[in-house]
Symmetry: C2
Amino acid sequence: MSATTLTPAPTALTMDQLFNHWMGHRNLTRKMIEKYPEDQLFTFSIGGMRPFSELVLEFLGMAIPSLHGAAYREWKKEEELPLLAGWTTKPTTKQELLDRWDFTTKELQRIWKDLTPERLQEEDVAFGQWPGTMYWLLMYVIDNEIHHRGQGYVYLRALGIEPPFFWDRL
Amino acid sequence: MSATTLTPAPTALTMDQLFNHWMGHRNLTRKMIEKYPEDQLFTFSIGGMRPFSELVLEFLGMAIPSLHGAAYREWKKEEELPLLAGWTTKPTTKQELLDRWDFTTKELQRIWKDLTPERLQEEDVAFGQWPGTMYWLLMYVIDNEIHHRGQGYVYLRALGIEPPFFWDRL
C-alpha cells in the first residue's frame, strides 16, 4: 500500500462567506417584514397561499433548529428547544415578529461559532427525516427563505407597495 | 520579521458543491417552465410584474454572461457574446425557451471547467457596473433565479396549478 496525498477539494465559499450570505438574506427578509402594513402581514394572500407572517414563522422555525442540529448533532424542533420556550404562542403583531427575528439573528451568530467545516461536510439525517450533507441543509434553509420571500414580493406588489431592492442585504 | 503560516480559510462549499447547487436550482426552474400552460407562460402576471417567460429570459441573460465574465475576465452582455448570437429574437414558444435553457446548461458546464477557486475569491467589477467578489456574483445569479422563481410559484398557484416541489432538484 502506498501513501496517498489527498488534495483538499477547492473552496468556492468559506465559512465566513456562507454565514454572511445567510445573514444578508435575513437582513433583506427583515426589511420585507417592516414594509408590510400590519394587518396585511397577517392576512393578505394570493392563490390560497399562506400570508407573509406564516412564511416568516416558517423561516424562524427552521433557522435555529437547523443550525443547532448542524452544530450540535441534536435534532430538536422549535417547540422542543429550551431556547425557544417563549415561542409557544403565535406572534400577532409586526413588532413581535421583528423581536423573534432579532433574537434569532443573535442566536445564529452564537451557534455558528460552534459549527466546524468538517461537520458541514458530514451526512446526517436532519430531524430524523431528511438525509443530507450539513452544508446542503443550511443552503436549503437559506434558499427556502429566498423562495418564499419572493412570494412575499408578489404580495407586496399586488398591494401596491414597492418592495425593498433584492440586492439590498445590509 | 518572523515567517507567518497562513491557515487557509475553512471551506463551507467546494467548487463542485456550488456548481451542483446551481444546476439543481436550474433543474427546478426547468420543471416550472414545463408546468406552465403555453399561453400563460407568456402573458400571466400579478401586480404589474413580468410574466414568467420574461423572468426566464432574465435568468438566461444572466447565466452565461456572468459565468463567462467570472471565468474569462471578459464582461459581455448576452447580445455581445458570439456564443449567443442566435438569441437576437425573443422566444415565443415554451419549446424555444426550453431549448435555450438546455443550451445554457451545457455551456455552463463547459465554462465552469475554466473557472478557478482563486478567481472565485477575486474582486472584479461585473459588466463594468457591479463591484464584488466573483463567488458573490455567482451566488447573486443563483439567488435571483430562486427569488423570481418564487414569484412564478405564486402565478402558478393563482392559475390553480400545483407547482413542482421546492426540494425536487433532479
